[in-house]
């Protein structure tokens, strides 16, 4: 597999008041290598996602996506370039059904505004139904999102991001809010969908079992910096990581 750098962060810095949430972050994300980001709470993991997806503008540093400088451009423009995101707290249209949520994503991806076509008759419908099947949520199509439990909402949230046909997908704690007995099953579903769509994933995760099973690489965050990066087997056995990160998780 070719080693393409999909996203590169250079010397990213950001402060909130006196708190430094990113202080000189340098990292390269390789295409087709799923990267897990681990680290204690407050290490700046979500802030990194926020900067990479355009929600926050770094105070210093640059972000390149596929070689192009994308620092500080709006999320919707990054989406058009192939960067999608799933959220820790699912961001869904709660007064719409699951299928309608997906159809909006499909219409947005295809730039199909069709102001006089009913949304459930748009050309992207087939694809979106298939996407729901992929995440094993086809039976929920006509349910209102606000009625669903958290775990299913997280899956829909990820499906919305995948519907945009991204090259890179950021997921903020995809299994938080999912019962621990179901975590592996849920991630199985997600990684199946990721493989089918050939998407590179970067995910923040606290469950080391999941990191070991699903990540190709691991990056360790602490105090707004990347401490270590490498293969899961090496990183998760590193004494510093065990002391500072994994210890805290247990």
């Amino acid at each position: 597999m070719s080693e393409t750098v999909l996203l590169q962060a250079k010397d990213l810095e950001i402060r909130f008041g006196g708190v430094i949430a990113a202080s000189g972050i340098n990292i390269e994300i390789m295409e087709h290598k799923n990267l897990a980001i681990i680290g204690p709470n407050g290490a700046g993991k979500t802030t990194f996602l926020n900067m990479c997806t355009g929600y926050l503008k770094p105070h210093a540093g640059k972000i390149f996506f596929d070689g192009e400088d994308v620092t500080g451009i709006a999320p919707r423009k990054l989406v058009r370039k192939g960067v999608a995101r799933a959220f820790q707290i699912p961001q869904l249209f709660t007064e719409h059904t699951v299928l309608e949520n997906m159809l909006m994503a499909g219409a947005a991806q295809a730039r199909n505004w069709a102001p006089l076509t009913r949304i459930d008759r748009i050309a992207q419908r087939g694809e979106m139904v298939h996407m729901l099947e992929m995440i094993k949520c086809a039976h929920l199509a006509d349910r209102l999102v606000s009625e669903l439990p958290e775990g299913q909402r997280k899956l829909i949230d990820i499906a919305l991001a995948l519907a945009l046909k991204p090259r890179l997908l950021f997921m903020d704690e995809p299994t938080s809010g999912v019962a621990s007995s179901e975590k592996f099953e849920v991630l199985e579903i997600i990684s199946g969908a990721l493989q089918e769509s050939k998407v590179t994933a970067v995910f923040v995760e606290h469950d080391m079992g999941i990191v070991e099973r699903f990540a190709d690489e691991v990056a360790v965050w602490n105090r707004g910096q990347v401490l270590f990066r490498g293969a899961p087997d090496d990183i998760l056995k590193h004494p510093d990581v065990i002391r500072d990160v994994i210890g805290e998780e247990l």
Binding site: T46, N50, Y55, L56, F87, Q88, I89, Q91
Partner: protein, 301 residues
């Protein structure tokens, strides 16, 4: 425009700004705590004016001392804030905090409609005029023009006192600190056991009383007419939006800007008098959408 007109415009603008500030600061205070921008806020201003003018007229006619006009204003403001503002928060607004924004807005709009006719029912449609307080303070001559001490000195002093008092009250008193805590982080404040309902009620009464005080003070300088509440809510909103929501000192500075802009328009281009505040607001918001002094709030995701 000669020096005298210039001075006149400045005095006019400052005294008007003082009134607008009182109403606007109440609006912004309530918004900070309750997160509801009360469309009926202008009604407190109007009712404060009506109460002061009608009660004042009655007691002066009965031969009481004209100096009572001043305590009357404060009593009227507090009564309006407590007896009308209090129940509105307690029995109506407290039921709608969980509703979506648009419904909250509509509820306060409904209250506004009701209060408009309430004024008409109680005080009729004839203008009221009761300038005892204004006459009582006499006149002052500055730069060769004679001005009423009430507008030149008294109104600005009251506004400054309210500004300082509010700032000190929020910093130094227990209630003030509770209000500040709820403004800054509602969830955290409730978690540490602050009685948010009580804070809401107190804040609403204080804010409504400030608006009513604005009206009470205004009643000495202008005739009290139907519709004055509607005009004032839009104007005070313009001040609050231009300053940035929740900005107390900012509201004072913006009220000055808008008051001066308006009074200069009166002398330079009278047709524009009503438009100037809005033009200032639109101008500022075009450049700084969060207002002159407001910060940008990012939603946590």
């Amino acid at each position: 425009m000669n020096v005298q007109l210039f001075a006149l415009a400045i005095v006019d603008g400052v005294s008007y700004a003082a009134l607008v500030f009182l109403v606007a600061v109440g609006l912004t205070l309530i918004f900070g705590v309750l997160r509801v921008l009360n469309v009926a806020h202008g009604s407190f201003y109007a009712i404060g004016a009506y109460t002061t003018a009608s009660v004042g007229g009655a007691i002066f006619a009965a031969g009481f001392s004209p100096w009572l006009a001043f305590p009357l204003m404060i009593v009227a403001a507090v009564l309006v804030g407590t007896l009308i503002g209090g129940p509105i928060e307690k029995f109506l607004l407290s039921r709608i905090y969980h509703l979506e924004d648009v419904l909250q807005i509509l509820v306060t709009f409904a209250v506004f409609l009701i209060l408009e006719d309430f004024q008409r029912l109680v005080w009729g449609v004839q203008p009221l005029f009761e300038a005892t307080a204004l006459n009582q303070l006499g006149t002052v001559t500055v730069f060769g023009i004679t001005y009423t001490a009430y507008q030149l000195i008294f109104l600005p002093v009251v506004a400054v006192l309210v500004l300082v008092g509010l700032r000190l009250g929020l910093r130094r008193t227990l209630t003030g600190r509770l209000i500040t805590a709820v403004t800054e982080d509602r969830e955290a404040a409730i978690t540490i056991g602050i009685d948010a309902e009580k804070v809401y009620l107190i804040t609403f009464i204080v804010g409504a009383s400030l608006a009513a005080l604005g009206g009470a003070l205004a009643s000495a300088t202008t005739s009290v007419v139907p519709g004055m509440g509607a005009d004032m809510i839009v104007l005070s909103f313009a001040v609050v939006a231009t300053a940035g929501l929740g900005q107390i000192e900012g509201a004072a500075i913006t009220a000055l800007m808008i008051g001066l802009g308006r009074s200069f328009a009166v002398y330079v281009w009278p047709e524009m008098q009503v438009l100037v505040p809005y033009l200032i607001m639109f101008g500022v918001l075009l450049v700084r959408p969060q207002g002159l002094f407001g910060g940008i709030e990012a939603r946590k995701i």
